[in-house]
């Protein structure tokens, strides 16, 4: 992805290399005049995770060898980099299309030696994994979904960011410099994962944001401990059996902390797992992966977004890079705080599919984080949010505070009801007392740099639960609290998430609608303050979501899945937001199905990859015992029929296309099609389109131009798939949508890059018909090329 973008820039050798992150403590208040003053008593995993290495200032221009980065004289700046990246990985395509891991030396799928049974399981497991993974330079997986048992523990999100100058690359045509940059970032990710006691990174992705000659490189993933047996040569089924024998706690294992609780890499609240009561779990969990299919979730999930803008002075080259570097940690922190607040407000305790995108423009930086919040049964119930005013003795102010407090409490209660979060009450004795010294551990945030004495004076423990106190002492903070409350929940019957499927919903119908929505707003340059910017950006995203809910109201009850926001700053005062997602209708009457069927369904989705599904027979597979080219996806073979009743299926099926000559091609960003079985993979679709117009007004202005263009892009993808004999595109993604206009010249240009997998699918209802009546004729009009395997 980034390679593609690089073509358009003139690189020279970089001068500023801010390839690192920072110390755990951020001197925030002293540095940032308009920073808010929050007291957050829960630890912030994100922040801590990101803060283990130092930043180096390296005078590059005289040094032609990029490999000397780390040996340069180091002047620790503060908090230059870190965090997560936007581009999400897709199980099938990402390894071939996205990341550049294969370019780095010594990367391979070599497997380590097998470990033995016995001894303290956890330690051994770690050892085994270690040996299996350490042979690889970067034990990173871009996959986001795994077979049950593969993820042993999940540590949390690890990320790294780096600000680079593109015009300083000596020979832009050669990849060495860029490779070195990424290698540096990956190394950092790896070290973050290590600090969390993990040996691998899953749900890993990399991305870039470029403005003029400045480029922000971002990488993020989820630190994890993996089951070593999956990485060995043996069959997956064997591993599973063993796993079951070992009697690992199901549904909560991955939540247990991988690190040593006495020697934690950062302060955190730990409690005994609410599920198995044996192991320790953190109080919140952030990850970039999809919800593991065996995870026990209470209620439903929801899309949680943090949005942020920061103004930046226009500057050139190094000054610009420095300014960006200085802003990044504060933004990162802000975004994280927002996510935490919103998560608490929803009454939930874990985020999946977290994707933080930082975009750089001429005069501002934008941060947009999207994730799916859920309530994990294994994690403790989140405490509420408490507001504390800093200026007491003012009656009306106090009243205002208490009013807001009430509103927040009401919202939390309402959300719990909305998302059906009713965790079973557990008495304190069973859980045992919390790990000692929670208060000492949990201090971290904003006011860290202020006198820590002040902190201890406040009793931040609210009952036995962790209190989450927002202190509002300036208008900024006030606004933040307000913005918490302005996020309107989706209308009833609507759910949204940015993961593949919504936790808690499992009776999907076949009615799907994939869509792309693009909005560009022009900011009036007069009132450009951070607050105004934030409000504009917040409104933009909220209105966009509201529009989607309104437009798709005929599909209720439905869920927007895989909601993928992309922000870019094409010009000084323009903000562009692109959203791609799929709306899937579900059957309300069966909404109360057990999680078990859900798991089965998910298993089925991620399974049964026979060789016939592959586009080409792999030569490697000709041996009697074929090595699986794609172990995680091969996990389990579940031959069960879908839990979805066929009856309600037929009722819901889309109108037939009997009298139309054009075959219907479905498109979805998900890796599966609800109520259908993919019988053949026809290969990856990766298409670039560039469209230019010199008669913008005549084509209905920018909206008309882009509307027609995107409609045509869809049509071309569909036609391409139909020509291959397919009838659907799965794992569809719009990787690029770069739009530029010049209204004065009546011109506009647009570049779009989309990709996905062409497949042949058969409706499950039809599948039954086929299996009963032996002639395996093609039922789908379009799947002429595909063999229907039953």
């Amino acid at each position: 992805m980034y390679c593609f973008l690089f073509f358009h820039f003139d690189h020279k050798f970089p001068q500023v290399s801010a390839g690192s992150s920072s110390k755990p403590r951020m001197p925030l208040d002293s540095q940032q005049p308009n920073s808010h003053c929050y007291w957050l008593t829960t630890y912030s995993e994100l922040l801590c995770v990101c803060s283990h290495s130092h930043l180096y200032w390296i005078p590059f221009n005289e040094d032609p060898n990029p490999n000397t980065h780390s040996s340069g004289p180091s002047t620790p700046l503060k908090n230059q980099t870190y965090s997560f990246s936007p581009s999400k990985s897709y199980s099938r395509q990402s390894s071939s299309s996205d990341t550049d891991l294969s370019l780095t030396p010594k990367t391979g799928m070599g497997s380590g030696s097998a470990g033995k049974e016995g001894g303290p399981f956890k330690a051994l497991l770690r050892q085994q994994t270690q040996s299996a993974l350490e042979q690889r330079e970067f034990p990173f997986f871009t996959l986001t979904a795994f077979p049950p048992g593969f993820l042993v523990h999940v540590g949390g999100v690890v990320s790294a960011r780096s600000v680079k100058l593109l015009d300083r690359i000596h020979n832009p045509d050669e990849p060495e410099t860029r490779d070195a940059w990424w290698a540096e970032i990956r190394q950092e990710i790896k070290s973050h994962a290590k600090a969390l006691g993990c040996h691998a990174v899953v749900g890993y992705s990399e991305s870039t944001s470029i403005c003029e000659e400045v480029c922000i490189l971002s990488a993020s993933g989820t630190a994890a401990v993996l089951n070593p047996r999956f990485l060995q040569d043996g069959t997956v089924e064997g591993c599973l059996e063993q796993r079951l024998e070992e009697n690992l706690p199901a549904g909560c294992g991955f939540c247990h902390i991988p690190y040593d609780e006495l020697n934690m890499p950062f302060p955190a609240h730990l409690t005994y797992c609410y599920n198995c009561r044996k192991q320790k779990v953190p109080d919140v969990l952030f990850t970039t992966i999809d919800l593991p299919m065996d995870a026990t979730v209470i209620g439903k999930g929801c899309l949680i977004q943090a949005r942020l803008c920061r103004l930046k002075k226009k500057a050139q080259a190094e000054a610009n890079a420095t300014a960006i570097s200085n802003l990044l940690p504060f933004m990162e922190y802000e975004v994280h705080t927002q996510l935490m607040n919103k998560l608490k407000l929803k009454g939930m305790n874990a985020l999946f599919g977290l994707r933080i995108q930082i975009s750089v423009g001429e005069n501002m930086l934008m941060g947009l984080a999207s994730a799916t919040g859920v309530y994990l049964a294994a994690l403790p119930t989140p405490g509420g949010i408490q507001i504390a005013g800093k200026t007491p003795n003012d009656g009306s102010y106090e009243q205002h505070i208490s009013h807001m407090q009430k509103k927040i409490n009401d919202t939390i209660a309402k959300n719990k009801e909305l998302y059906e979060i009713n965790p079973p009450e557990i008495s304190e004795e069973i859980i045992g007392s919390p790990i000692p010294e929670p208060r000492q551990r949990s201090r971290l945030l904003r006011s860290q740099s202020e006198s820590s004495d002040e902190v201890t004076e406040l009793d931040l423990s609210h009952g036995k639960k962790d209190a989450f106190v927002l202190e509002i002492d300036d208008t900024d903070a006030m606004e933040d609290v307000h913005s918490l409350l302005t996020d309107v929940p989706p209308p009833s019957g609507f759910y949204s998430c940015n993961t593949e499927i919504m936790p808690g919903i499992n009776n999907w119908t076949s009615e799907i609608q994939m869509f792309t929505s693009v909005r560009v707003i022009r900011l009036s340059s007069l009132n450009l303050t951070n607050q105004a910017l934030n409000k504009n950006f917040n409104d933009l995203c909220e209105n966009l979501l509201k529009s989607l809910y309104f437009k798709l109201r005929s599909m209720i009850p439905c869920c927007l899945c895989h909601v993928n926001f992309t922000v870019s700053l094409p010009e000084d005062e323009l903000i562009q937001v692109t959203v791609t997602a799929v709306a899937i209708t579900f059957d309300k009457n069966q909404a109360l199905q057990t999680t078990k069927t859900h798991v089965e369904k998910s298993l089925q989705r991620a399974s049964t990859d026979n060789e016939e599904l592959l586009q080409f027979p792999l030569e490697l597979c000709s041996d009697s015992l074929p090595p699986h080219p794609f172990p995680p996806a091969k996990a389990v073979t579940v031959e069960k029929a879908s839990p979805m009743g066929e009856g309600n299926f037929r009722n819901r099926s889309t109108p037939s296309c009997a009298n139309s000559t054009v075959g219907v091609v479905k498109m979805t960003p998900l890796s599966f099609i609800p109520g259908a079985k993919i019988t053949k993979y026809l290969g990856i679709i990766n298409m670039f389109f560039i469209r230019e117009t010199t008669s913008l007004r005549e084509e209905g202005g920018v909206s008309g131009f882009l509307h027609a263009f995107i409609a045509e892009v869809f049509a071309m993808v569909r036609a391409h798939v139909a020509a291959l004999g397919g009838n659907a595109v799965v794992s569809y993604i719009m990787k690029q949508c770069v739009f530029m206009e010049n209204p004065n010249k009546n011109q506009a240009q647009c570049l779009i890059n989309v990709s996905g997998d062409a497949v042949v699918f058969v409706r499950e209802s039809e599948l039954e018909v086929i299996s009963t009546q032996q002639p395996a004729a093609n039922c789908q009009p379009a799947c002429t090329g595909g063999e229907v395997t039953t």
Binding site: L523, Y549, F550, S656, C657, H707, A715
Partner: protein
């Protein structure tokens, strides 16, 4: 915060029926938004006016892109740009070609030319239908006319095949094309009480009985056929109608005809005396209408003449519809008993259709 660009594109094209109707009715985006707000949609869905505005714009843009395809409906079925379920495609086409009763009454029988198009302003003001909608309807009439004008075969079938309309709508278009081709006058004040349905009914009867296609005289050589089968009246037939004049010109024949009808209807008709008194006038009227049809101008005035010569006298004497039916049946049938009259088949072809038309047109 000005929205520069705002679009939504679905893999399956979203069609909102309500917005489609507003678009077809020719409302501007802002008017449409106002109307939607008034419909109470905001309260139902909890949306804001801005959301509604953006949604309406999106739909309007989609419709504008679709309009080009709607001009030739088979194209809509075969195009690849918009993935639309067949049922929705049918709805789009049907609604696009649906017209307003008030509008069609204004242009029915008029030449579908640029001149008429210029009058659309006045029609718009008069009917309260937006000019945009008037234009669309007018252009639809014209487009259908142009396509089927030169075609052979059944008018309704041709329209159905090329515009994929429902049977009902195709019949209506056949009537419109037929009227436009023959330029029947329908706009006179006397004719104002008649609905489009009345005329369409007559048009169908006339197409079935009075055109070349009706007699089944399919041309043996395709090129030799000059007239359109269904659209033009059978000229030969119109010429022959002059022969019917004998029914009123020959006094004996007229008296005989009258006595036959009166004998048969005595006691059965509530308005017998009026009928008896008026018989000669009525018969003269009906036969003269037939005899005049050789001239194009008189063909155009067919409906005016029917109203003046037959329907108005009956109405002024307060004939009930049942009496009109009895009279017309007897009037047509009695001719068969006239020994001196040789044009029985011609008479049946004329009166059969005319009787149906008159009965349909006889109302307040």
């Amino acid at each position: 915060m000005a929205s520069e660009l705002d679009i939504f594109v679905g893999n399956t094209t979203l069609i909102d029926e309500d917005v489609y109707r507003l678009w077809l009715d020719g409302y501007s985006v802002s008017d449409a938004v106002a109307l939607r707000v008034r419909s109470g949609i905001l309260e139902q869905t909890g949306a804001t006016a801005a959301v509604l505005q953006s949604d309406t714009m999106d739909h309007y843009r989609t419709f504008q892109m679709l309009e080009r395809l709607l001009h030739a409906p088979p194209k809509l079925l075969h195009q690849l740009i918009f993935q639309i379920p067949p049922s929705r495609q049918a709805l789009l086409i049907e609604r696009y070609y649906t017209f307003d009763e008030a509008f069609v009454r204004e242009v029915l029988g008029k030449k579908l030319s640029k001149g008429t198009k210029k009058d659309l302003d006045d029609i718009s003001t008069k009917t309260g239908i937006t000019l945009k909608s008037c234009r669309r309807q007018f252009d639809n009439f014209k487009r259908v006319f142009k396509v089927v004008e030169e075609m052979r075969g059944s008018l309704v079938d041709n329209i159905q095949q090329h515009f994929l309309l429902s049977d009902r709508l195709a019949r209506d278009y056949a009537a419109i094309v037929f009227f436009a081709n023959n330029r029947f006058e329908t706009g006179k004040k006397k004719l104002q009480y008649l609905s489009f349905g009345d005329f369409a009914f007559c048009a169908e009867l006339m197409i079935q009985n009075w055109t070349l296609g009706a007699v089944g005289e399919a041309p043996t050589e395709p090129d030799s056929q000059v007239d359109d089968m269904d659209m033009d009246l059978d000229k030969e037939f119109l010429q022959d109608l002059k022969e019917l004049k004998v029914l009123v010109a020959d006094k004996d024949l007229l008296d005989l005809h009258k006595s036959l009808v009166c004998t048969a209807l005595r006691g059965k008709l509530g308005v017998f005396s009026e009928m008896e008194a008026n018989f000669k006038n009525l018969s003269r009227g009906l036969v003269n209408v037939a005899a005049k049809l050789t001239h194009n101008k008189d063909v155009r005035d067919l409906f005016v003449d029917l109203v003046e010569k037959f329907l108005e006298p009956c109405r002024s004497d307060h004939w009930p519809l049942s009496d009109v039916r009895l009279f017309l049946n007897q009037y047509s049938a009695s001719v068969h008993s006239l020994d001196g009259f040789r044009y029985q088949a011609l008479w049946d072809r004329y009166m059969g259709t005319l009787r149906g038309c008159l009965l349909r047109l006889y109302h307040d």
